[in-house]
Structure formats: structure tokens, C-alpha cells
Amino acid sequence: MKKKMRINNEVCEFDLKKEGQTLIIALGDQEIRAQLLPTLTPGVVHLDIDGRQMRFPYAHGKGLLGEKDLLVETKFRKSAKHEEEGSLVSPMPGKILQVLVQKGDQVAAGESLIVMEAMKMEHTIKAVMAATVEKILYKEGDLVDGGVQLVELKDQA
């Protein structure tokens, strides 16, 4: 069974098989066998990967993989709108420095939309997918709170 997940913002297509409690995951020409182990403490998932016991601080798709930070989105397609809105949101209170697009613009994934200043640093809000700009909610010079939506995009698909 082919499946897709977004892992650290990159879509990853893999092959999934089940043998009893064991999951077989194939990516490219590699394959691992994984099994869920009991939990010791909330927020830490223990897996058996190819016979080796490993533990991962992990909850609700966020966690650590050894030294690396991890973000796993299993339902990123269904809830694409919600996920993508997340990145069109002000990361913290600040000031809108530049609005780079206009209503109705076609933007490519990764294209810069708005530049804001927060904590004395510039931060750029980018489109996470190819889309049409539906609405721009603030203008240059506006002070915005953290966590508010700045732009509305409409999926081109």
C-alpha cells in the first residue's frame, strides 16, 4: 500500500505492509520492520526497529529523532488548508514592513508574500503552495498580534 506523509515539511511517499504487529516500511530500495513497544512515560514512544529498541520523545506528530527535531503530518492532504494557514500566520507580535503581493495574484510555492518585523528582526511569510491570493488582511505599517492570519490563499487545484 502506497502512503504519503509530510515529514519535516517534505512530502514522503513510502510503501506500507503489515505482518501481524509488524509494519514493513519501504522507501526507495530500503526497508525497515517496525513494531510498537509499550509506553514508559507519556510523551515518549518506544519502537522496535529491525530488532533494535529505540525511543522517541513524540506526541501529536511532533518530537525528536535522535538529535533531530521532527514534525510528522499524517493527514496533511485532508487538512491541507488548516496546515497551510498555519504558515500564513504572524509568528509573533510585530509590524508589517512590506506587502509583496496583491489580491488576485498567482503565487508559486515558496514565494514571499509579506515581510514583517518582530523582535527587531525581519521575518518573511511565504506561500506554502501554488495558489491565488484571496485576501490580504493587513497593510504596511500595521501592528499585528502573534498568531493572527495575515493572508488568505486559495488552492489552485
Binding site: 516500511i25 515518549v44 514512544v45 506526541a59 527535531d69 501592528l143 498580534d145
Partner: protein
């Protein structure tokens, strides 16, 4: 300052991890603690772990943690004996120290005079000249004719830094390695300065090619005893804030350590210092060192000193404030083993260290024996209201490598799920070959920028991530609960600052 007065109750005029740190020592000493909190901090540990806690109300810092009158009124209402200022906030505020004394309360810290003197850059540098503590050679005057500047430059020696007085950010800054270049570089610096700042006044300073930040912890009682608790090296910084601190430093010889420490004790003794303080130096490759400043308070990085000396600096601060003599002599003190501290910040190191916010879903916990100094629990919100430092993680081992490996293991146990942190970046630093060798210069982060970048997941890691995604849905249900809160905080607060 009152002498020989027993402290039974303390007002903690600070918040977060340092308030929790002070509560811990007080609890062990049988001293009660009154803390302060703002409405958004009602469920923060520093509020709830205290014996009493007072709501400061809404408002910016000037109306809350920096509101001297309000804090004194609370101290009197709760009948405290002493006030602990922590670091940042009012900790180096001489006016506050005087106000505390006027109200016949004990300030757990140095005298107002100590603060005033060391807060005055010019006066403190003059003092260093008098008592023979080295300063970076330089000329900072207004006289700017080229011949005069060249004479001053000759006195300072090579390599030489020419810098716009009004400047910053590298503009109007030139390094001279050869006297023949002096004229050209001076002219260029002045031209750049004029263009950038509309002012061509420059200053001259010895250029430190391989600087390290070394500081000496001192502790003084009210009876005239002044001791040092060895050094900390805090060279690894980003945006002028410390990230990694350790003791001992990898480069100090016993002779150099003794010399820097003796200078620190001389300063403390000369100004009749009281309490815990830190003399910051810049150290060059050749063993030259120069006084930077004195911090007249407890330092964020004090735990590394606690590990290598086995002392509790907060308890010592309180003992000293009570008028007690320090319970040791210099010769009793020993710097044993090696301690390393890292500061966990809510920030994105892969995006110019941009501060991040969010609700902490899961801090994590370690099976190792590192010390985590923290003022947050799961469910607390990290906002821009306060300092972005989430916690300090400190390891202690028989040697540097042992401490380093312990710290690496512990950093893998603290995900701080819910907010972007510099955790992964700290791991990259700790595993960098030059860090392992002890080559920790103050420009470490920019020098090795290329090596410290984001490392993508390997193919195998991606497969494991897929397994986690598929298998953990059941495990997820037992994940830690988080309390979603409404952000009621207005924009543009001041920040508690410290280094």
C-alpha cells in the same frame, strides 16, 4: 546593610527559572519565599512553588517586575526580611538597592555603591588602571588628526582595529596588520563612517584576533573576606548572548588562572564588594587578558561553578546577606571535574535565531543525571512578554569529554514539543570537532556557520518517521495534556535582559 540578621522570609523580585532556583535553596534552608506573578503566569512554577505569591496585575514591565514601589510595598506587607533580585530586572539597579536599604530590608546582593561604580564604564575602567588590572589598549578621544591618531596607534600596537565611534555592524571598521596600511585604512574607515553615520570620528583599539570570553566568579562576605570560585568560559555566543558555558576553560594554565583570579579578588577587595559577582575578561591567544566589566549579581551560568566547586551560590548569597562569614577559606576551594551548561532558547537557529512562541506540550525528561534549571511546566505558554530562555541544561563529569557526552545524551531527552528551540543547534555545536578540541572562540558560531547548518533526515530516519506516524496514534492518546490558553498580552513589552 544590616549585619547578623537572620533571614526567615525572602521576597523573590524575579520570575522564571531563577525564581525556582532560589526557591529550591530557600526550601532547603527553611526560609519562606514570596514570589510575584502577572496574570499570564498564574500557572507558572515560580508562582505556585512559593509559600506566598502576589499578583502584580497587568501592565508592562515598568508596572510589574520593574515597579520598585510596588515591590517594596509587597515586601513590607508580607513582612519579609530580604529581597533577592535574581539577574536582570532590578538586580543591578543602585536606586533600588538604596530604596531597599531605606526600608530597612536586606538586599541579597552587593551594595548600591558597588553597583553604581561597576555600572559606570568610565569610572570602572579608571579603577582598573589604578589597581593595575589590564584593559584593552585603545584611544577613545575626540582628537582626530591623522598624525596624532598614528602616534596613539603606535602605542596600542598591531593588529589594530579602527572603528567608527558612532558605528556598529561592521561599517567603518578596519583591521590594520601593517603600519604601512595605517593611512589608507584610516582614510577608508573615516570615509565609510561619514557615509554611514554622518560622523567620521573613529576610535582605535587593539584587535583581539582569537578572543575568548573568560569570567571569574567572586564571592565576598561583609567581614572583608574575598574569594574566587575559579573561571567560567562563555565564549560561544549568538547575537551577543551566551549559549554554552563551561568550567574549567580548556585553555587556562594554572598560572594564568591564578593571575586572572587574583586580579578579580583584588577588584572585589578594592571596592569592598559584598556577595556574588563576576569579573568578565576577554582572553587573547597569547594569554593576554583584558577587563571587560563586572556583573554585580548572580550569573545565569552560575550552575557550572556550583558543580565544579560543590557549593550552592544562592545559599552563600543568603549567608553573606545575613552577615555570616563565608564558611571556607580560599585554600579550601577546589575546582574538580568539568561542568558544561547550555541555554535552551525559544528560537529558530536555522532562521537567523528568530524568537519563537507557542504552548509547551512536552518538555521531556531524562534518564541521565543532568541538571535542568527551568521555570516552566507542560502547558505553559512561551510568549514574547519575557526572555526567550526556556531552560538551562547542565552536565557534570570527571572531565570535559565525559560532561560533553552526558549533555549530548540529555539534550536528546528534552524535545520541548510545541515551541521551536535551539536544541538541535546546541547538539551541532557540542558535536563539532573544533568544540571537542576546545577551540571555542567568541566568533565560533560565525566561523563554523557552514558546519552548523540544518542537517536533513537520512533515508532511514525518514522511514522511522513514517513508522512513528503510523504506529504512534495509539501512543499519542496517552501524551501529556496541554492547557490551551488565550494570549491576553499586548504587543511591545520590555524584556528582562541579562547575559
Amino acid at each position: 546593610m544590616s549585619k547578623n540578621r537572620t533571614i526567615k522570609r525572602i521576597l523573590m523580585a524575579n520570575r522564571g527559572e531563577i525564581a525556582c532556583r532560589v526557591i529550591r535553596s530557600c526550601r532547603e534552608m527553611g526560609i519562606e519565599v514570596v514570589t510575584l506573578f502577572t496574570p499570564v503566569e498564574a500557572d507558572y512554577p515560580h508562582r505556585l512553588l512559593a509559600d506566598f505569591s502576589v499578583n502584580l496585575g497587568d501592565g508592562n514591565l515598568a508596572e510589574t517586575y520593574l515597579n520598585q514601589e510596588k515591590i517594596i510595598a509587597i515586601a513590607k506587607k508580607y513582612n519579609v526580611d530580604a529581597i533577592h533580585p535574581g539577574y536582570g530586572f532590578l538586580s543591578e539597579n543602585a536606586a533600588f538597592a538604596r530604596l531597599v536599604a531605606k526600608n530597612e530590608l536586606i538586599l541579597i546582593g552587593p551594595t548600591a555603591e558597588n553597583m553604581t561604580l561597576m555600572g559606570d564604564k568610565k569610572a570602572s575602567k579608571q579603577l582598573m588602571e589604578e589597581i593595575g588590572v589590564p584593559l584593552i589598549p585603545g584611544y577613545h578621544g575626540d582628537k582626530q588628526d591623522h598624525e596624532f591618531l598614528f602616534q596613539e596607534a603606535k602605542k596600542i600596537g598591531l593588529p589594530l582595529l579602527i572603528k567608527a565611534s558612532a558605528g556598529g555592524g561592521g561599517k567603518g571598521m578596519r583591521v590594520v596588520n601593517d603600519w604601512e596600511q595605517f593611512e589608507t585604512e584610516l582614510a577608508a574607515a573615516k570615509r565609510e563612517a561619514m557615509n554611514a553615520f554622518g560622523d567620521d570620528i573613529v576610535l582605535l583599539e587593539r584587535y583581539i584576533t582569537s578572543p575568548r570570553h573568560i569570567e571569574i566568579q567572586v564571592i565576598s562576605d561583609q567581614l572583608g573576606n574575598h574569594y574566587h570560585l575559579f573561571e567560567r568560559e562563555c565564549s560561544i555566543q549568538r547575537r551577543h548572548q551566551k549559549m554554552v558555558e563551561e568550567s574549567p576553560s580548556s585553555v587556562l594554565t594554572p598560572e594564568l588562572r591564578e593571575k586572572m583570579a587574583q586580579d578579580a579578588v583584588t577588584i572585589a577587595s578594592h571596592i569592598n564588594y559584598v556577595g556574588a559577582g563576576t569579573i568578565e575578561y576577554i582572553l587573547d591567544l597569547d594569554g593576554s587578558y583584558y577587563f571587560l566589566e563586572m556583573n554585580t549579581r548572580l550569573q545565569v551560568e552560575h550552575p557550572v561553578t556550583e558543580f565544579v566547586t560543590g557549593l550552592d551560590l544562592v545559599k552563600l548569597q543568603i549567608q553573606v546577606a545575613q552577615g555570616q562569614a563565608l564558611p571556607f577559606k580560599q585554600e579550601d576551594l577546589r575546582q574538580a571535574g568539568h561542568a558544561i551548561e547550555v541555554r535552551l532558547y525559544a528560537e529558530d537557529p536555522d532562521n537567523n535565531f528568530l524568537p519563537s512562541i507557542g504552548v509547551i506540550e512536552s518538555i521531556g525528561q531524562t534518564n541521565g543525571d543532568c541538571r535542568l534549571d527551568i521555570g516552566l511546566v507542560n502547558g505553559n505558554e512561551v510568549s514574547v512578554n519575557f526572555d526567550p530562555m526556556l531552560a538551562k541544561l547542565i552536565s557534570y563529569g570527571v572531565d570535559r569529554e565525559d560532561a560533553r557526552l552526558k549533555l549530548i545524551e540529555a539534550l536528546k531527552d528534552y524535545p520541548f514539543i510545541g515551541v521551536k528551540t535551539n536544541r538541535e543547534y546546541l547538539l551541532r555545536i557540542l558535536k563539532h570537532p573544533e568544540f571537542i578540541k576546545g577551540n571555542t572562540l567568541t566568533h565560533f558560531v560565525s566561523t563554523y556557520e557552514g558546519d552548523l547548518g540544518h542537517v536533513p533526515l537520512t533515508n532511514e530516519e525518514k522511514m522511522i518517521a513514517c513508522a512513528l506516524g503510523v504506529l504512534s496514534s495509539s501512543a499519542d492518546s496517552s501524551g501529556p495534556e496541554t492547557k490551551q490558553k488565550v494570549d491576553q498580552t499586548p504587543w511591545a513589552h520590555l524584556h528582562g535582559f541579562r547575559n
